[in-house]
Symmetry: C2
Subunit: 167 residues, 2 copies
DNA sequence: GCCAGAAACTTAACATGTTAATCAACTGCC
DNA sequence: GGCAGTTGATTAACATGTTAAGTTTCTGGC
């Protein structure tokens, strides 16, 4: 019933490697997609993408913030951020000015219009999150967060994981 | 020293919502990125993207497979898959033919050249994975996999999570 | 055996991810 | 005080994510 539809499934393996079922990136991707599938419709209904929403939330949490720092906080690469900021500014959801001490730096802040939009989206978004927490278990969710953080730490710390390195 | 550089950080919150630190999608994204950052250089050195690698791996594990089934297995959307298959076929890494019984269906398989490429990439890739498993802990990694699967299950099962739904 | 509707892909259009290159502004050093 | 090197940010170019529309082929009912 749930067997693969591929022909010759039985021992058709041609290379010595883990199966997808043991792929960590895949597992993380699948889990994330399952979560995001819950949020996207709500965001889309308000004309927002996931990344735009991340930026608005980050801006709403502070008075003002520089572009580079925002990229770090919202976990976006510079080029993506540049494009999105251009759009959000054009839509009047954010405001930007230049740092007087360092003309290279851009300083961003959310607009009143942006805050209103957040107020419209947040409730439903929070409810969806609560639903996930309820179904998965709040305690378990906290444990998952902890394990993900630790994974990030154990990887980020040191090691290039370069096989040919002496170490 | 490590405090936020944003001005007025203290209680600058303007909206009632969770902080990013409690965002599940962000946590999953960060963890995944930390992992992928380890693999990407190796793949890129062989002219492969993450998704192209997923497809080759999936094809190497079977004799032949249909496009739709491959999309499911490699967790890619149809449009992305179409583009990637076009490129991989042009590079001679895969072969495709049409199902004689149903001319709509495309049947894919990996080529000898594709298998050779996998053989070149896989060892290093496996070593990187082993390094992650060693640093994070094999037992813990297995537990994380389990929790991610359960998260996916608890979300995927039923519920639209629509706040306005009666349920 | 024909035709409406479904199914399997593919194309299209727009947004983001990713790396490299560019550009303007700043910093340190001589 | 001027220039090499660095930094903050954007632009460029290509690949994928995402949703909608289009194409070809099947399938079922008449």
């Amino acid at each position: 019933m749930s067997e693969s539809k591929a022909k010759g499934t039985k021992d058709a393996r041609k290379v010595p490697m883990r199966d997808f079922s043991q792929s960590l990136p895949m597992a993380l991707l699948r889990a994330r997609e399952a979560v995001m599938r819950q949020f996207r419709p709500n965001l889309r209904a308000h004309g927002l993408t996931e990344q735009q929403w991340r930026i608005l939330r980050a801006l709403a949490a502070v008075d003002a913030i520089e572009v580079t720092e925002l990229a770090r906080v919202a976990f976006l690469l510079g080029p993506s951020l540049s494009r999105i900021l251009r759009d959000l500014e054009a839509r009047g959801l954010i405001a930007r000015e230049t740092d007087a001490r360092d003309l290279r730096r851009g300083v961003l802040s959310i607009s009143t219009k942006g805050l209103k939009l957040i107020a419209q989206v947040a409730p439903n978004s929070e409810a969806i999150y609560a639903s996930i927490a309820r179904r998965y278990g709040a305690r378990k969710l906290a444990a998952l967060h902890k394990m993900l953080d630790e994974l990030e730490q154990s990887i980020g710390t040191d090691g290039e994981t370069d096989v040919d390195a002496d170490e």
